[in-house]
Symmetry: C2
Subunit: 761 residues, 2 copies
C-alpha cells in the first residue's frame, strides 16, 4: 500500500516531518506557480540531500540535441526542453561560522503547509546542529497571482538556546542545469549582472534560440518585526549575484529577511530593456511592501476559488484532492498568452520536456471550457491553428500530405524521437480535430469554424486520407502501423480508436463544410478556394467513412483494441503479482508489449469522446471487458474510466477511479511524483466530478446534467461557466439544486427533463 504523504485537510497540503529520501516527492507537491513562472518546493537554504532544484519560466525552452540509439529518417534534430532557470529562492545561512545545510542537521517539528485557498507555502521547523544549538526557522513564499513577475519570500530565523552572528546571503544563481540534459550540457550563458542601488540583477541567455531571462532581487531586513537598516556587502561570481548580511542575534530574537524577486524574459520585453523593466517592477513591489503584495495575491486566489471551487462534504480525502488539482491547474496555465500551452509537468519538473501534448486537447480543454472565459479555451485552439504550417511540414517529412501535428512540441515542430510514438501515435491528430468540435459545441462560437477550425480540419482530413490504405480483398480502408493511446502496444494494425477518430474527423470536416455552406454561405467559396478543396477529395473522404474497417468481436460485443488483440493471453490485472506494479518499473518492454495489459483508456477513450454516438449497452460491454485489463499507468486513464462508470451507474467504480486520478500525486500512486506533478491529467479529476458524478454533457447547445452522489459523500457542489452564465450545481443525498448564479435565462436538461433557469435575486 501507498503511504500517506500529506495530512488530510480540505484546504491545506501539509507535510508533517522531514526525511531526505522523500524530499523530491514533497518538492513536487509543494510547487507553486502563477502561469508565468513556477518553482518546485525547494528549500531556501543549502540542502545537499535528495533534491531537484527547479525554476521554470513559461515559454523559455531549449532545443537539446536529440539522443537516440540508431537514427531513423524523419527523427527531429532536437528535443525541446522546459528550461530550468535562475534559482531565485536561495538564501544561504551561516549560524556563526557554520553554513547551514539542512541535510546535515537534525530537523524537528518540520511542517510545510501549502495553503491552496491563499496560494502560499509556509514552513516552520526547528533545527539542531551538531553543537546542540537549536534554531527556529519559518518561511512563507508566494508567486504573485496579480503581478506575474514578482515572487516574495519572508524568511525568519530565531536562535532558541544561543546567540551569535547570523549571516544571510539571498542570491540569484544562474549556475543551473537541466537534470534531463541529454549530453550533460549546460544551456545558459551569462549576459550581464550587477547591482543597481539596492537591487542585484542577473541576466542569462540560452545558448540556442537566444531567450534572455533577467531576475532581480532586493530585500528588507527586520529584527523582531521592526525593519532595521543595514548595508549589505555584495557578492559577484560567475552567473551569480548576492547580498551578504551579517547580523548579531540574541537568544530568542527573530531575524526576518523579506526577499523580493522580479523575473521576466525577452518574450515580454526587448532584450535591451529587460534589466530596466525587471528592476523597475522589483522596486515597485518592494515599495509596496510584503503585506500589500500578499494581500493582493490572496484576494486574487479568493476570487479564483469563488468561480472554480468544488465543494465536497463528508469526504476530506476527496475534497482535498479536487482542490489540489484545480489549484495546480490555475497555477500552470492562465490562458492569457496564446503562445503558451500546458506542459504535462507544468512548472513542477522536467520530465517529458516539451510543452504541448495531445493532453491539452483531450483533457485540459474541457476544464478550461467549464471554468474560464471562452477566450482562454479559444487560445488553446489558436495555438494549434498558428502551428498548422509546421504540422504540414511534418506530414511531408513522413511522405504524406495534409497536416500531422507533433506528438510533443514547443513551437509546432516535432521534438519527440521514438519512432513508435513520433511517427505512429498519429491518433493525436484526431484529438486536435475533436477539440474544435468540443469547443464549438460548448461555446456556440460557430464563427471559429469559419475563421480557424476548417483550415485545421481539412488538413488533418487530408492526412488521414493519405494514411489509410484501401484493402482490395476486404473492400475496406485500414490504418496499419500505429500506436494507439495505449502505448503498451506499438506498431499495431487497425487500432480501433485511431481508425474511429480518423473517420470521425472526416465526418466532422464534411459536416463543417456543409455548415459553412449553409450558415456562412457568402464565405463558402472563399473557403473552398483558400483550402483548394476538390470534389474528388470530399468524395474520397465519404468513401473512407463508409468503408473504414473497425476490428470487433461479435461474441463479446466489443470493439477490439487492435487486430489480433484476442490472440493475447487471457489475463486480468488482478492476475499480476502486486509487487510487479507498476509494470513499467519492473517488466521488460517486450513483455509489456505482448501482454494483454493496457496502459490507458483506448477503446474507452473513443467511447468517451464519441459517447453521443454509442448506446449504453455498447459502452457497458466494452467497459467491463477493458477496465479489468487496464493498468492506468498513464495518469490520463482513470478519469475516463470514472466518467464512463458514472454513466453506467457503477458508483463504486466511479468513486474508486475518481480517487485514483484525484490523489495520484498526493499519494504518489504511480511512484513517480518525485519527477513532478501530473498537471495535464489533473483536469481529469475535475471532469470526473463534473462530467462523471454530475453527468454534464452539452446536447445541441443545451447543458444536460444527470447527477448522482457517491455513497461516501454527504453533499457536493460545483460551478461551471457556460456561455456567459455561471451555474451552480449542488447535489446531496436526496436533492439536486441547479442555480443560475449569473447571466441570462437558460434552459438546461436535468435527467433529460427541460428546466428553464433564471437568475435569482
Amino acid at each position: 500500500m501507498n503511504k500517506d504523504y500529506v495530512l488530510l485537510d480540505p484546504w491545506h497540503i501539509i507535510q508533517d516531518g522531514f526525511n531526505s529520501k522523500d524530499n523530491r516527492i514533497y518538492e513536487s507537491q509543494m510547487s507553486i506557480g502563477n502561469g508565468f513562472m513556477g518553482i518546485r518546493g525547494n528549500l531556501e537554504e543549502t540542502f545537499s540531500g535528495n533534491s531537484l532544484q527547479g525554476t521554470y519560466v513559461a515559454g523559455v525552452y531549449y532545443p537539446d540535441k536529440t539522443r537516440v540509439g540508431w537514427w531513423k529518417n524523419g527523427y527531429p534534430e532536437y528535443f525541446a526542453k522546459v528550461l530550468n532557470s535562475i534559482n531565485f529562492i536561495g538564501i544561504k545561512v551561516f549560524l556563526g561560522n557554520q553554513e547551514l545545510d539542512l541535510d546535515k542537521v537534525t530537523i524537528k517539528d518540520f511542517r510545510r503547509d501549502l495553503n491552496m485557498k491563499e496560494g502560499t507555502l509556509t514552513r516552520t521547523s526547528t533545527i539542531i546542529d551538531s553543537n546542540g544549538r537549536e534554531t527556529k526557522i519559518e518561511s512563507l513564499r508566494f508567486l504573485s497571482k496579480k503581478r506575474k513577475e514578482i515572487a516574495c519570500i519572508k524568511y525568519s530565523i530565531t536562535p532558541l538556546n544561543y546567540h551569535d552572528t547570523i549571516t544571510l546571503i539571498p542570491y540569484l544563481d544562474g549556475n543551473i542545469v537541466n537534470e534531463d540534459s541529454n549530453y550533460d550540457e549546460t544551456f545558459w550563458d551569462e549576459v550581464n549582472k550587477g547591482f543597481i542601488e539596492d537591487s542585484a540583477y542577473l541576466t542569462l541567455k540560452t545558448k540556442k534560440l537566444d531567450f534572455h531571462v533577467t531576475s532581480a532581487t532586493s530585500f528588507k531586513l527586520l529584527k523582531n518585526k521592526t525593519e532595521i537598516n543595514t548595508t549589505p556587502s555584495t557578492l559577484i561570481e560567475d552567473k551569480y549575484v548576492a547580498h551578504k548580511l551579517n547580523i548579531y542575534v540574541s537568544q530568542g530574537e527573530t531575524l526576518t529577511l523579506e526577499k523580493y524577486v522580479s523575473l521576466s524574459s525577452s518574450r515580454y520585453y526587448p532584450k535591451d530593456d529587460l534589466v530596466n523593466n525587471v528592476v523597475r517592477s522589483l522596486k515597485s513591489a518592494k515599495n509596496d511592501g510584503f503585506d500589500l503584495l500578499l494581500d493582493e495575491h490572496v484576494s486574487g486566489w479568493n476570487k479564483s476559488w469563488e468561480s472554480n471551487d468544488i465543494f465536497i462534504d463528508g469526504d476530506v480525502k476527496a475534497q482535498q484532492s479536487i482542490r489540489f488539482n484545480i489549484f495546480q491547474l490555475h497555477q500552470t496555465y492562465t490562458g492569457e498568452d496564446s503562445r503558451l500551452n500546458i506542459s504535462p509537468k507544468g512548472f513542477t519538473g522536467e520530465k517529458y520536456g516539451g510543452s504541448t501534448y495531445w493532453d491539452t486537447e483531450a483533457y485540459c480543454l474541457p476544464f478550461y471550457l467549464g471554468t474560464s472565459a471562452a477566450q482562454i479555451s479559444k487560445n488553446l485552439l489558436i495555438y494549434r491553428y498558428n502551428q498548422l504550417g509546421k504540422a504540414k511540414e511534418n506530414a511531408v517529412k513522413l511522405g504524406l500530405k495534409g497536416a500531422l501535428y507533433p506528438m510533443v512540441t514547443m513551437n509546432g515542430e516535432e521534438c519527440h524521437n521514438e519512432w513508435e510514438i513520433t511517427f505512429e501515435e498519429i491518433h493525436r491528430n484526431g484529438a486536435i480535430a475533436y477539440a474544435i468540435y468540443n469547443y464549438v459545441n460548448y461555446t456556440g462560437d460557430h464563427k471559429h469554424l469559419l475563421d480557424f477550425g476548417i483550415d485545421v480540419l481539412v488538413e488533418i482530413s487530408r492526412f488521414w486520407e493519405g494514411r489509410v490504405i484501401y484493402n482490395k480483398n476486404k473492400n475496406c480502408y485500414m490504418i496499419l502501423g500505429v500506436t494507439g493511446p495505449n502505448e503498451y502496444e506499438n506498431n499495431v494494425n487497425n487500432n480501433w480508436y485511431t481508425n474511429r477518430i480518423a473517420s470521425w474527423t472526416l465526418e466532422y470536416t464534411l459536416q463543417t463544410l456543409e455548415f459553412i455552406k449553409n450558415s456562412f454561405s457568402e464565405s463558402y467559396e472563399d473557403v473552398l478556394n483558400r483550402l483548394a478543396i476538390k470534389d474528388s477529395e470530399t468524395i474520397k473522404w465519404m468513401d473512407i467513412i463508409k468503408k473504414m474497417y473497425y476490428p470487433k468481436d461479435d461474441n463479446l460485443g466489443i470493439f477490439l483494441q487492435q487486430d489480433g488483440y484476442l490472440d493475447k493471453e487471457d489475463l486480468l490485472i488482478k492476475d499480476i503479482p502486486k509487487e510487479d506494479l507498476p509494470l513499467n518499473q519492473t517488466w521488460s518492454w517486450d513483455r509489456i508489449l505482448r501482454s494483454p495489459f493496457i496502459k490507458q483508456a483506448d477503446v474507452l477513450q473513443g467511447l468517451y469522446f464519441l459517447g453521443h454516438l454509442y448506446d449504453l449497452e455498447t459502452k457497458r460491454k466494452n467497459f467491463y471487458f477493458y477496465e479489468p485489463r487496464t493498468l492506468h499507468e498513464s495518469s490520463l486513464s482513470p478519469c475516463v474510466h470514472s466518467i464512463l462508470a458514472s454513466e453506467l451507474g457503477d458508483k463504486e467504480k466511479a468513486y474508486d477511479m475518481y480517487l485514483r486520478t484525484a490523489r495520484l500525486d498526493l499519494d504518489n500512486l504511480n511512484n513517480d511524483t518525485d519527477d513532478g506533478l501530473h498537471i495535464t491529467s489533473m483536469t481529469g479529476t475535475w471532469m470526473s466530478i463534473v462530467q462523471g458524478f454530475g453527468g454534464m454533457r452539452i446536447i445541441d447547445g443545451t447543458p444536460s446534467f444527470k447527477p448522482f452522489i457517491p455513497d461516501q459523500w454527504i453533499k457536493y457542489s460545483f460551478r461551471v461557466l457556460f456561455r456567459e452564465r455561471v451555474l451552480n450545481i449542488e447535489v446531496s443525498k436526496d436533492k439536486v439544486l441547479v442555480t443560475l448564479e449569473k447571466g441570462d435565462p437558460l434552459t438546461i436538461l436535468l435527467y433529460d427533463s427541460e428546466i428553464k433557469l433564471t437568475k435569482q435575486h
Copy 2:
C-alpha cells in the same frame, strides 16, 4: 546506376584515380587484415579530406555508455564497440618546409592495387604541389599472414622536377577516437611510451576493462635502394611517439622508408611484459628484413588460395568479386582463438560496434565448414557454449527461463539497445541451435552434441517454451511481439520464420536427446541430471511442436511473413521509384514498417535453413511471392535468394543475386561501403556458388552436388573440405568433374546418383 569504383581484374582490386569525396569508400575496399588486426586503406601521409582513420585489434573492445531516447527496463548499460586503436601506419612528410597534405595537392596518376593473391596493398601516384613541384610516391604495405603482430610498409618518394630536404616522420599515434563514440568520449589512456634502441613504442589502455595495447615501430632508410645510416631525432608528445628523418634528396633520387611495426595486446601477453614482447618481435622482424617478411607473407596467401580459391572462367566481374569476398573473410577470422568471433564489418569499420551477431551462425559457419579445418568451425560453436551462462542471465532479465543469446555481444552480454531488436529479434536463438545441427551434419562430430551442443539446445528450448503462449480459442501455440529477420517490420505476431525455427529447435533438441540415449547411452543419465531435464518438460515441447501455429495463405500456397501480412498494400519492389532506393535512406521509418517491403529473406530464410523439410513446389511459390517484395537492404539477403533460385533452376535470377551479394562492396550497391565492408555477408557469395550453382548439400553425411553453370560463364571450379578430404568440383558447359584431391575414398551424390571417389595419383 552505380558507378564502377574499381577496375575489373581477376586477382586485383584497382583504384584508378583519386577523388576526396569517394575516399572513404576506397578506404573500406582497400582494408587489409590478418585475423589479429586490421587497418582501413588510409593513406600514410597527412590527409585532411574525407576519411575514417581506422586501426582495429581483435578482441579489444570498449563498453561505451548506451545512448537511447527513453530508457526501457531490460536495456543493457553499455554498447560494446570495436575499438579504434593506435594509428601505426602514419608517416608525416615534409617536402622542404611544407607538410604534405594529400587533400591540398593535385594528384595525378593515382593508382592503388589490392593484390588479393599476395595480400598486399600498393600505391603509385604523382603529386603536384602549389609550387608546381612534382613528386612521385610509391608504397606497399601488408599485415603479415605469418607473424600476426607484424605490419610492414615500404614507402618511397622521388622528387621529379626539384631537389630539396625531405622530412619523414614515421609515428605511432594514440590520439584516436571512435567515430561512433556515443558521447564523443575518448576511450584510451596512456600507459607508457618511449624509445628502446632504434624502436619507438607506445602503450595505451582502455578506460574501461583495462585492455592494454602496445605498438612499437622501427625503420630502415634507403636511397636508391641502398640502405643509408641516419640518426633520427625523436618526437614525443601526449600519446604519440615518432622518429624524425631529414634527408636531402636530389632530383630523380628515390628515398625509401621501410616502416616496421609490431603490435599486441594484453589478451596475449601479461601487461607487465607487453612492451618487451612487442619490441622483441619488432626487432626480430626488422632483423629478418622487408623482403623475407614479404616472401613468407605471400607464400602464406598462396597456400591459402590453393585450398580456397574459386576459379571462374569467362566472367571477370564474377571472378574478381568472389576472390575479394574470400580474401576479406580470411583477413578477418582465422579461427585460432575461440574467444574471437566475426564482426559484421571485420576490421574495416566501426558500424554495428559489437563483435558477434547471428550472422556468424547463419552465414559464416558454412563458409568455414567448407574451407577450413573442423576445429575452426567448432571454435565458433564453443564461443557460444562458453557464453551460455550470460545467455541465461539475459533470459531472466526479460522475465523468462532458459537462454536467450544476445543480438550483439562481445563477451556474451547483450549490448544492443533498441527494444524492437534487443528484446524482440529472438529468432537469433534459433540460428544458434541450427548452427549446431549444421556443424554436426557437416563434420559428423556427434560427440560435440554430448559435450557441448545439448546444453545449448536444452536451454534454448526452455526459452522457447516460456516465450510461446497457448491460445485456448484456437488450440495452438503462438509467439507474439517479435521482429523477424525482416527488420522492416517490428513487434509483429507470429512471424512464420520465428515460429518455425522455434519449433524446429524443440524437435532437434528432442532428437538429440534421443540420439544421446541411443549412441552415448552411458552418458544419457548424466545429461538428464546435469541439465535437470524433466519428463514434463519434454512432453510440453512435443505439445508445442504439434500445435505450433504457422500463418499461411492457402490460396497463394505460401507461408505468411506474419499475421496480417496480406492486409498490406499489394505493391512490388518494381513499383518503387528508383530514386527512393535504398528505402532506409529516403523513407521515414513508419512508412517502411507499414509497407509490404521486406528487408531481407525471412520466410525464405526458413526454407533455406530447413530446405530438406520442404518440397520444391512450396519453395517455388514462396520464392516467387516474396522475392519481388524483397529489398535486399540487408547484405545477408541476396545470397539466400541466389541459392534458392539455383535450386529452382532459375539461372538468371540466381546469377543476378550472386552478383548482388558478390559485388555489394566493390560496387557500393547499398551506398554504405564508406562505413566499412559487409564482412559477414561475404560468406553468402561463397555459398551462392558452392550451395547455389554447385548445389552442394550434406544428405545423411554424404555430400551431394547438382551443379549448373550460369550462361555468362565458360567454366568454374571450387574446392571444399569435407571430413578430412579435399574435393575439387569443376563445372563447364557440358561437363562436371569431381575430384578427390586429398583424403580417404568417399561416396558422393551427383545429381542424386552415388559416385565413389578415390584419390588419383
